[in-house]
Symmetry: C2
Subunit: 122 residues, 2 copies
Amino acid sequence: MAKTRYPGLTLRIMTSARPAMGPGKAQLLEHIEATGSISAAARAMEMSYRRAWQLVEAMNRDFVEPLVSTETGGKRGGGARVTPIGRDVLRQFRALELRASGAIRTGVGAFDRLLKKPIKKR
Amino acid sequence: MAKTRYPGLTLRIMTSARPAMGPGKAQLLEHIEATGSISAAARAMEMSYRRAWQLVEAMNRDFVEPLVSTETGGKRGGGARVTPIGRDVLRQFRALELRASGAIRTGVGAFDRLLKKPIKKR
DNA sequence: AGACGTTATATACCGTAGAATACAACGCGG
DNA sequence: CCGCGTTGTATTCTACGGTATATAACGTCT
């Protein structure tokens, strides 16, 4: 999964009520896509299973269709997959991050010079 | 003070350690500028004085010069003013928000159609 | 039948961010 | 000299987000 971060900014898409998509949920979706499991994704992110599950539940609730489908039992004991709309949401969000990041890149430099510690880059 | 929000996104400028500037601190600066007092700004935002003061302290610590200067005693009992660099930081941050918001405006529309509840607008 | 690794859910616990409260210092004005 | 409204600081309390833990249901495989 992409470990891409966008230096110096965090972007959150807000609904009227609460944050619908942000860096955390996006990364979780990527880990679920990579591992096929909520619990494996949670372990990879060093996040409790409960929290990961709650984030998945929130995403499935807030969007018109579930972003993650799950099944219990079976060969692997169960699993989770990112749905087509889930991949779509993820791709769109990453694109928005990139565009926002690109739009402010120059301005961030001036801002950086006013800070003691530099902007987060990695 | 400007009550401008940028529909659908929140932007935070991150240093290597922690968020250096975001919607909350920006709004606090505007209230301090408008009222000439940390406590009045806190009351206006329905925030505890302590929290407002901590945010001011963090900003004064993280930037090369204080964004807010204060004095105790005197006619009004004391007060706080946004320094020139403080106004500069605020202006730059609001500009960054605008540019980021503008850059993703079209994409946010597509995102919106995937959400049950619409994007925050006000 | 039983073991395994998941999802799904409940419950108890904890760490900490923030609120509430209290109080000293300051400086002007009555 | 005292009161007022600040800043600045310490202390206590509370609400809550998140962790840890336990357990049930599920389906496949041995």
